[in-house]
């Protein structure tokens, strides 16, 4: 009698254990992000976050990765590095995330370097274009977006080899970004011993008549503009007022639909570097991304930022899959370092190794045609 009751209990206990245990084994993989969701750059941060959320929703609906669901925790830092550190510490120490994904902003992600290095937390695919994230190599930091110097080498190759233009001026924002970009251009021009006319302007200025007149007086046929699209539009207008029509080009920021709103038909024919596919591309991966965002986050708009977030989310799932569902630091790092020519369909194929943590040293040439940016080249490597 007693044995019978006991046996019944044992069976029940076994049954409970069998239903509970798999649930324990399928604990979700927690991933964290810090970005500006409040303040002046909130649109950028929210967009990147939306992208990751769309990717994770899509992956989880299809059953997760290696039987595990992905859980995403995003924290606001208002683009203040000291708050980014607080966010990251909360995510890693309190929420126990296995990695930081798509941290948004150059200064915020640079501020995280000491913390991620010491806590051995993988910091994957930040939305940042800075040199210092992957040079010198950080064991736990991986990027997909090519830094501006790489973009400029791609652009200079195109100007010199394909367009065969040699009278070139760079009108650039006189700050760290602009100087970094010009250094990239100069290095490539210097190799062919071709001079580059350098015309700096201060950030925040609205009067470009001086630099444009100088460029025209220098007899230049091609103007590389390095700044925000609003200023690019002002420069194009200024040149137009002088009745001057040089070839315009710029880094990835110029290749934004915004440029057409600001410069109108004057933007036609301009060239920009594409670091990812444009939103109106016919590539199936882009169409799938836009459909996914419309499905899972119908109240948000697909942007180039959310495309980056989406790709980061998809890449993370791929990494966990390659690591066989393991999410410790060593497994994640070695899974990424094993990626060779991995094509997301949204940008140049990504290649990582133990010596190279910048996944894409390539960009493509985009041209403004009929109010749209069209990619007119393959993905071109920067070397």
């Amino acid at each position: 009698m007693i044995g019978k009751v006991f046996g019944w209990r044992l069976a029940l206990a076994t049954a409970i254990a069998m239903t509970v245990l798999p649930a324990v084994a399928q604990e979700p993989v927690k991933v964290g992000m810090s970005g500006p969701f409040s303040g002046g750059l909130s649109l950028l941060g929210q967009s990147v976050r939306d992208g990751v959320e769309v990717a994770f929703a899509e992956i989880n609906e299809a059953g997760g990765v290696s039987g595990r669901k992905l859980q995403f925790i995003a924290e606001d830092d208002g683009y203040e590095p000291m708050r980014t550190i607080a966010s990251a510490r909360k995510l890693v120490e309190q929420d126990k995330v296995v990695a930081l994904l798509a941290v948004t902003g150059t200064a915020p992600s640079a501020a995280l370097l000491p913390f991620v290095t010491e806590s051995k937390t993988p910091m994957l695919f930040p939305y940042a274009f800075s040199h210092s994230l992957t040079t010198p190599l950080n064991r736990d930091v991986f990027t997909t977006l090519p830094e501006v110097r790489v973009q400029m080498v791609v652009l200079a190759n195109y100007i010199l080899n394909t367009l065969k233009q040699t009278k070139v001026a760079a009108i650039y924002q006189n700050d760290d970004f602009g100087q970094d970009a010009v250094a990239g251009l100069e290095e490539r021009f210097g190799r062919d011993k071709i001079p580059l006319v350098k015309l700096p302007f201060d950030r925040g200025t609205t009067n470009f008549s001086g630099v444009v007149a100088q460029a025209k007086a220098a007899g230049v046929e091609h103007v590389v503009f390095l700044g925000i699209p609003k200023d690019a539009a002002l420069v194009m207008r200024e040149a137009n007022n002088l009745g001057w029509k040089p070839q315009f080009s710029g880094h990835n920021a110029l290749g934004d639909p915004q440029t057409f709103q600001l410069a109108g038909p004057l933007a036609e024919g301009a060239i920009a570097i594409a670091v990812m596919e444009p939103l109106d591309s016919d590539k199936p991966a882009v169409k799938a991304f836009i459909a996914a965002q419309q499905k899972y986050k119908p109240n948000t708009k697909p942007t180039t930022y959310s495309m980056h977030g989406y790709q980061a989310g998809k890449l993370f799932a791929e990494i966990v899959k390659r690591a066989g569902g393991k999410t410790d630091e060593a497994s994640i790092v070695s899974a990424i370092e094993g990626m060779q020519g991995f094509d997301t369909g949204l940008m140049a194929p990504l290649t990582f190794s133990s010596k190279q943590h910048a996944g894409a040293l390539a960009g493509a040439i985009m041209k403004a045609q009929g109010g749209k940016w069209k990619i007119i080249s393959d993905w071109l490597a920067a070397n």
Binding site: D76, I85, K90, A107
Partner: protein
């Protein structure tokens, strides 16, 4: 409250024996025990509070006591951060010494800012200091050979006496410096300088009639206040270990002023409460979009309307009633 009452209060501000020291003791004990209770995140937030409390202590001497508005304290904070970082990292000066030298250097800068302050008042002074802050920030940005400009400056952990300071060590250092800072501010506010500053705030003519050289005391107030901000900056630099010129913008100066006003103008406890409010409340409100800014803004309004003496004034009133 009239100047006379303020000055009288300043003279006999010693807490009534009993609850005051006990409360203080509990706070100090809790602060010392924090690293054993909190995780790295909590400790970081507390450390940041300490750093900002130090700035607020200094700014309160200038704004709360002497009635001089400064919108360049973020720049003092930044100069201190860069001076300490460059002295330690590039010149190889021991960390504690470079904290002190950075502070003294910035105190000189503060004294220079005070020169226009001798002639300007209220809004005009605010605008002049605003300009000065922008200039200092621009200098940090443009002096690339020294500061690495917009690339920012990454720092390795500081070393004191062969011992590498990690989160806990740095926290205790901040705690020690804040304690010193409270002690210093306490002495300044109760001494000759504090009383002179209170009269200057009320009426410079009256101060002059009493034979108080207003100009000299304003310079002293600016210098002390800049010293506090700079030492805090030196601690901040090694807490975050990555400093960037854009960290030290006018927005941060306004945040410092808000801390002082929210906490309580002209009180030492208010500086600490204000800093704690500024750092900890947004952390507690994580996840609610735009809430930190909204709550902060609303509270500023509420404090200004309902609590002329800030959070600290309210706490004291409740304390007295209990």
């Amino acid at each position: 409250m009239s100047a006379a009452a303020d000055i009288e209060r300043a003279q006999r501000q010693a807490l009534p024996f009993g609850t005051g020291p006990i409360l203080l003791g509990v706070c100090v004990a809790a602060a010392c025990a924090a690293p054993f209770v909190l995780n790295g995140y909590g400790l970081y937030v507390l450390n940041l509070t300490g750093v900002f409390a130090l700035v607020a202590l200094g700014l309160n001497l200038l704004t709360g006591y002497a009635g001089q508005i400064s919108l360049c304290h973020a720049a003092f904070f930044g100069v201190g951060a860069y001076a300490t970082a460059i002295l330690t990292q590039t010149a190889g000066v021991p960390y504690l010494l470079s904290l002190l030298v950075g502070g003294l250097l910035t105190a000189c800068v503060g004294a220079v800012v005070a020169v226009p302050a001798m002639r300007l008042k209220s809004l005009y002074l605010a605008i002049a200091t605003l300009g000065f802050g922008v200039v200092l920030q621009k200098i940090i940005f443009e002096w690339r050979s020294l500061t690495n400009g917009g690339g920012g400056l990454a720092l390795s952990p500081p070393v004191i006496g062969g011992y590498e300071l990690r989160a806990t060590g740095l926290y205790y250092l901040t705690l020690a410096v804040v304690t010193l800072g409270v002690w210093g501010a306490w002495n300044v506010s109760r001494g000759r300088t504090g009383r002179a500053l209170l009269i200057i705030k009320e009426s410079e003519i009256a101060a002059g009639a009493l034979g108080i050289p207003a100009a000299r005391y304003k310079v002293i107030a600016f210098a002390i206040s800049a010293f506090y901000a700079a030492v805090a900056g030196g601690l901040f630099a090694y807490l975050v270990r990555y400093i960037h010129p854009e960290n030290f913008s006018v927005g941060l100066s306004i945040a410092f002023l808000s801390m002082v006003v929210i906490g309580g103008l002209g009180t030492i406890g208010g500086s600490i409460v204000g800093a704690a409010f500024y750092v900890i409340v947004p952390e507690l409100l994580r996840g609610i979009k735009d809430a930190p800014g909204l709550v902060f803004g609303l509270l500023l309004v509420i404090v200004m309307v309902l609590m002329p003496k800030g959070l600290w004034g309210l706490a004291r009133r409740i304390g007295r009633r209990a």
